[in-house]
Each structure stands twice: as C-alpha cells, then as structure tokens.
Amino acid sequence: MARARVLIRPKEGILDPQGKAVERALPALGFEGVGHVRVGRLVELETDRPEALPELCEKLLANPLIEDFEIEQI
C-alpha cells in the first residue's frame, strides 16, 4: 500500500477569489508584503496502484481544464 498526497490548485491566469480574499486580509493583521496567494486543496490517500494516480487525478480529483495537480508519494 503506497501513500500519496495530491496537491490541487487553480491554474495560473484563472482568478482565484479565495486567494485574493486571503491576500487582502493579511495586511490588516500586520502581514505586509505577501502576494500571489492561491488557495487549493490537498487530498491524502492510500493506494495499491500508485501507477494509476495520474489518471485518477485527471478523471476525478482535479479538473484539468481549470486546475493543476502534483502527486507526492510519501
């Protein structure tokens, strides 16, 4: 059984309102100089077939039209 983490985030160039909201909130808390905040999601899983992970990501975990993903085996 292999363990993996899949990191999914909005593609470059696609407006990420969640990231923007976080970015705008930071100066009010005293965190100046933070930019390009992008909010994505993290999926952790265990699998018997790590070789199928890319296909699994393309078909379900991410929408390749609007999202990029990275697979990290742990």
């Binding site: 909005p10 407006l15 929408n63």
Partner: protein, 212 residues
Amino acid sequence: MKWGILQFPGSCDERDALHACELAGGEARLVWHEERELDDVDAVVVPGGFSYGDYLRAGAIARFSPAMEAVAELAAAGGPVLGICNGFQVLCEAGLLPGALLVNEGMRFVCRQVELVADGERLSIPAKHGEGRYWAPDDVLDALEANGQVAFRYAPGQNPNGSAREIAGVRNEAGNVLGLMPHPEHAVDEMTGSTDGLRVFEAVAGAAGGGG
C-alpha cells in the same frame, strides 16, 4: 413526449423542474441516479441542487452516476438534455458541454432575479448559486461565439458572478445539450413574478419533437 428529471442525493430543484416540464407539455417522471436505463424518456433535465454534497467540485461526483451514463447515450443520439445550475455544472464536468463553472467572483452565494438575453429575447428568471462563474479558454469562447453556442447571456450590468463574456448558458455543437446557471423552473407561474422560464422548457420540448 416524456421527460426524465434526474435526482441525485442532494438535488433540490427536481420537483420544480418536473412541474415545469408538465406545464411545457408531456409527461414527466423523476429518474433516480442509480437508474441505468432511460429508454422510456425523450428528454432529460439535470436539475439544480448540491449533488453528492458538491464534494470535491460541484458536479464532479454526479457525473459518474449510472444515470449520467444513460444521459450521455441519449445526448450522443441527439436527445435533448437541459442542465440547470448544478445540472449545468454536472454536464460540464461530464464533458457534454464545454467550459467549467468556478466560484463566484465576489465569493458570495448570489440569489436574485436576473435578466437574460437569449437569441434577442429577454427573460427574467432567478439565479441562486455560489459557483456560477462560467470560464473557458479564450479560443474555446471564440469558437462558442462563432458557432452560435452561447445560448444565454446576462443582460448588461446583470452578471452576478463574473462569468466570462457575460455567459449564463451554452449549448453543445450539435445543439441538443443545453446548460444554464439561472433557474427557468422557478419562473413558470405568475405567483413568483415571471413565467419566462417556461419558454426554455417549451424550446427543449420543441427540440424533442414533442410538446402538447
């Protein structure tokens, strides 16, 4: 003609859609998401709601249901399919319509009456969604416009979610699969202020060669 209205766990607009279909003409029945055969159905509505809790992405899990396999077959055979709100998201996730629906630009769930323009006609129907920002790459948007596949636009100043090119709804290349974010099924009775939504169902019924 006979309509089938899909029902997923988490759907919430299927009964209004059923009512709208009956008003537009013909019989209508609900189709549970585990049904694999739709042989008795001439046209399908994929209704609004929060299928499977909208986990992962809106529509991402619903697209793998047995009923959606049957819908894909019906669509491939030229049968009319109408996706509303979550149904539009499901059809995009399933690849039956181009593009994707993203979180509203303003980050808020919107619920308001909107004016739409469809083939020069204006319609007033409600919108209620948190993930309704239509997006597709520029070349795809260009192609949609060139092919007449932009079925609905928000009227000037009415775009509630930041959709690209004010797009509220699109159809596929063949023209038989149609999706939109606003809710025509909630605008079929004067009681709620507008009956413009009925025209959307009548147009789909017309495409099915049915009605009356």
